[in-house]
Amino acid sequence: MTGNFGQRIIRKDAFDKATGKAKYVADIKAEDMLYGVLVRSIQHAAKILKIDTAAAREVNGVEAVLTSADISGEITHGALIQDQPALAHQVVRHIGEPVALVIAKTKMAAQKGKERVKIAYEPTEAVFDPVEALKPEAPKVQPSGNLITEYHICDGDLEAGFSQADIVLEDEFSVQRISPGYLEPEGALAEYSQDGTLTVWVSSQEPFEDRDTIARVLGIDTGKVRVKSAVIGGAFGGKEDPELQTLAALGAWKTKSTVQMVNSRFESFVGHPKRHPARFFYKIGVDSKTGKITALHAMAYMDTGAYASYGPAVAGILTETLAGVYHIPNVKVDTYVVLTNSPLSGAMRGFGAPQSHFAIESLIDIVANKIGMDPIELREINILKPGDKLFTKVPLDVTASALPICIEKAREAREQMKQLIAAPGKVTGTGVALAMQTMGLGAKVQDTSTHRLEWLPNGNVRLYLGAPDLGQGLAVAAEQMAAEALQIPYDRIETICVDTGLTPNGGVTCASRMTYMSGNAIIRAADALQAELLGEAARLLNVDVNQLTYHKGEILKGGGAHIPASEITSRLAEEGRTIQKEGSFSFPYPKEKTPDHLPIGMPHVMFVFAANIARVEVDLALGSVKVTHLVTVNDVGKVINRLGVEGQIEGGAATGLGYALFEDVALKKNGQWVDGFTEYLIATTKDMPELESIVLEIPEASGPYGAKGVGEIVLVPTAPAIANAVFDATGVRVKQLPISAEVLLEGMKKRQTQ
């Protein structure tokens, strides 16, 4: 196999990254480059009475100070709802909202200019809790109200289901706001050309969407905007919003120069989307003799912050996963997406599933404890099986057979963990959680990906990858699949990563979909490329095309002649021609899997499954939790690059662990947000457990070589597995994330006095 699937393949960009040569947006330096700095709102909610830019304009080196009055196109943009002003217009709705843009010749002058912009605010009442924000007396974040989306799905007969149960429990859970926490803060560099066009280098998951947004806000034709991907320092969903690329473009357009903008870490915290905080209210009915869950009602309230961003879409996946991986005959779910004056929330790795799984996987353990059943056994009794329908009426196929394997592996792992003895002063426990993650953008949404292959005169094949590699290693997987499709060695593939002027539109790198989408598109492009090569060879060799066959980068002619592809492509080059073919793939949403009763973006029809088994040690005096061991089970369909899959699992575990134990973009008592890595802790080397990764390969029939997506599922079961282990260790059920030492100590104290 020329694609070397399943092997540990070294990515081609690793050399530049290891030597410091890789150019991220902040590393690009253009001649006479200007620097753009934002004046951001210091108010949670306020009317803007006046913006005085006169003093800022007088600062030596300041070239321009722009406000929303300088926007000639549409003043708002937004992923799903056009509700977010590029620069605040009349009001501000959260701390960190961009109000004015200062552009100067040096960073220092820009900073000085920023300090001299005077903004007069009239503060208004703010609201921060999604349930509070729905009350009639709550301040309105937008004039049209705070409820922007609601989903209600019902399957079966809820009342009948609860009447069949002898145990009915109600419980509440909440999850916090977390930051994507990529190490590279957001940035963009926009260059104005004398011919009236813009070229914008971005650190973004969706350069084509960026191009369209920039054009809309500037009020110019999309043909005048070219967007190129710089090297990207991580994204995790957080780089699907176009703030800086739009503003750098605006600055470059107005000053007719090159403008670089890079967020500080503080700005990244308050100005850029996060994982949605949410509150859950559950009611569950179970037959305690059989362990069968008979009914489930879940209500979810999501705080999307001051603007919608991807909130309604995140809510879709959150809604679809509220019942977890369980087959429950009677289900009702109600989800509300609510505006508040928090910094906006949007896409982040898992996209709603980590939130819902913390709730449902905690609840399953609570039920097991209540009826005196092993939590793994309760799961086994209720898991979804191939052929079962989800409450969305989507039928599951054979890939759901990953779940019983997850159960089996969980039993084995837990057994081994139970042999380990707790350190002195500590108690130990184990916890299990199962999970499912959707793939793709959802039904009724444009979900297409296009890429191109070109056979070069030197015999190499160039891949025009239409979607960005976020750092996770998309390019190497795409190259491996291109090599396999053309049966040529992997090192003969060279890649140009997304450039709207050069590559086709591969769509957004998100939703666990890009290995799957790009692979399928590349296979189609490779088939077309082979056919084109044979056609050109027939013409040049003056033979009938039926006498030629393609084999491993060569053309076979009757009589045993082998003609290398390069012989044909170099002759074509002499004629001034090349062989290039695009391949396009649309995510399949077959009619039988997409009932009409659901709103746009729903349902999702393809799923990946996983389990996490965690062992924790809890310090009885400090209340601190240390995850000592974590076993992960993930079904990936097919391993393309083993290094990439392992990297996703190991990195996902770190983020899942941080979600469970310490990450929280909280509103502090002083009215400010947690906005830096001093207070916002992410996992370090010292926090990481001993990690074992079990990778299952149950092929997805529609996947390229059977592959599915692994980018998100890896962290979905981590937090509930840890919470369940903490309960096993201490008897304290923590129902809100992160699991803080304070809450745990208080819980342990309460248990002692009971």
């Binding site: 070294i10 690793a14 290891a18 991580g234 870490r265 996770q472 992410i682 990690l691």
Partner: protein, 161 residues
């Protein structure tokens, strides 16, 4: 703004320059010398380790060192590690072990690891974790970085894992 004159030895080469008194060593490396391998990940708060360089044999956050404090110091950056195309064993091990994903934290992590191995040729796993504990990474979960440092320490390759 007050300016100062400093001389620093960067990757074995003495460089004299004038810079603003409030500039950090990171600013000097990136903006004045064009050495952009060291990154700014936390806004100059010394929280993330992406700007780690070696100063007089010790790993430091270059965003926490004023240019004036670096006057006369011997500075090693990621750009000085390879000899032409020949990579430093740590760079090779990071690549081979798959310790690099987005790569933004990589230069800082490699410099922290080098400072460790320069002092201690056979560190324990705990010592490696300690040396790397100031280098935040959101992509890798650190496992392959730690493996890479072990591989480099024993002068081996990723294949004999």
């Amino acid at each position: 703004m007050q300016t100062i004159s400093i001389t620093i030895i960067v990757n074995g080469k003495a460089i004299s320059l004038r810079c603003a008194a409030n500039q950090t060593l990171l600013d000097v490396l990136r903006d004045e010398l064009g050495l952009t391998g060291a990154k700014d990940g936390c806004g100059g708060e010394g929280e993330c380790g992406a700007c780690t360089v070696i100063m007089n044999g010790k790993a430091v956050n270059s965003c926490m060192v004023f240019a004036g404090q670096a006057d006369g110091a011997n500075i090693e950056t990621i750009e000085g590690l390879a000899r032409g195309e020949e990579l430093h064993p740590l760079q090779k091990a990071f690549i081979d072990a798959g310790a690099i994903q987005c790569g933004f934290c990589t230069p800082g992590a490699i410099m922290s690891a080098k400072a460790l191995l320069d002092q201690n040729t056979s560190p324990t796993e705990e010592e490696i974790k300690e040396a790397l504990s100031g280098n935040l990474c959101r992509c890798t979960g650190y496992k392959k970085m730690i493996e890479a440092i072990k591989i480099a320490a024993r002068g081996g390759s990723a294949n004999d894992r």
